[in-house]
Amino acid sequence: MAAALFLDAEPWVDWSWVSTHVPTVLGDLGQHVELTVISLAAGVVIALPLGVAAYRWTGLRLPTLGLFGAFYTIPSIALFALLIPYTGLTTATALIPLIGYNVLILVRNVIVGLDEVPRDVLDAADGMGYRPLARLLQVELPLALPAILAGVRVATVSTIGIVTITAVIGFGGLGALILQGLIESFHTPLVVGALMGVLVANFADVGLAAGQRWLLPWARSE
């Protein structure tokens, strides 16, 4: 029955292939996670100050969101390909679009999170003598964290999916398994790659949600 699901009646998964290719799959998984983690970390590092600035100086919001928003609408495969003549077949080519996409998601969430801090809390903090920077770091950002972490979760799942596309320009990651499955008309690496992608994304999402509850037990998780 499962065999009939594919046009050529080959089984979904050839388990002998799986058992002999564990190192390959783990290697691809490692590359995949590497790209995801680095692009997220860089995205956070860029988005936090940018988001705070856009929150403070509302005049910055439109240009910031507009610039990164425009970038966001460009399909990733086009961006990867367009960067090759400039940054070559290096990790930078893969990372630049990924980081750009993450910055948009995170900046939006930083702004919304900061916007949502109740006015009376800010007044109370001012009344207690908090200077602006201290108020930002010790009151506003912590209260904005649920929104920011929600953004990190969305960015993570989204990035894991887009990293698969880097395989089309010669990168590894789980997308390489999918591409191999396509080119060689071979189901197993395709299924393994796609399934691992789902599992990693879900694992990351659940893990981040749990981490959020652990760090911010008083906040309602999104």
């Binding site: 894991i160 887009i162 396509l182 999104e222």
Partner: protein, 235 residues
Amino acid sequence: MSFLEQVWRWFGDAQHWQGTDGVPTRLAEHLHLSAESVFIGALIALPIGIALGHYGRFGNLAINVSNTGRAVPSFGLLVIAFQVFGLGDGPIIIALTALAIPPMVTNSYVALREVDPDVKEAARGMGYRELAQLLRVELPLSVPLIMAGIRTSAVQVVATATLAALIAGGGFGRYIVDGLATQDYTKLFAGAVLVALLALATELSLSAAERALVPRGIRLQRAPTKRRATAFKTA
């Protein structure tokens, strides 16, 4: 001639606007793939989300399944659809529909759940039967969030439809994939611009539709729906 000038010239070349590889043809293909997927996805997702939200049952299951759906790499899904169903538009639409469903289920479920219980209570008190309550009270109140879900889905599908070109599909993705294969970066960039413009047009037109559909009374009294990371990139 700078690269951007070359791209400008590309759009100005009349030949690029006719024939099987012309912009109108590719636009029609891209719209066909996207619109059908979102439409069929809505037919499946909205009833499910609305019903679950109305009855308040299995919500967490629905949302978890939806989130799992979001986690499927779109490239992988398209290739699987190709290997299961073969060449053509059908398999592509099947894969894109699967991608379109999660945001619409989640949003319609949450929308129905967020309807003020007092309002529902009042409706019951006024004598509304269950179906009438749903149709004439709950749904109108849920329209903004449901439309936001449809909008998210649509923009996502338009962007992901570009990947269809990797499995011989049509649409603007063809300019990107063919441009890469022949190192014609002008064509590639033109394709990227066209997809971005189409995604933007989709977002704007569905926003306008949302404004038109939300009953005036609700629009006036309701605060704008929180735009929390509504966009989700799958391609």
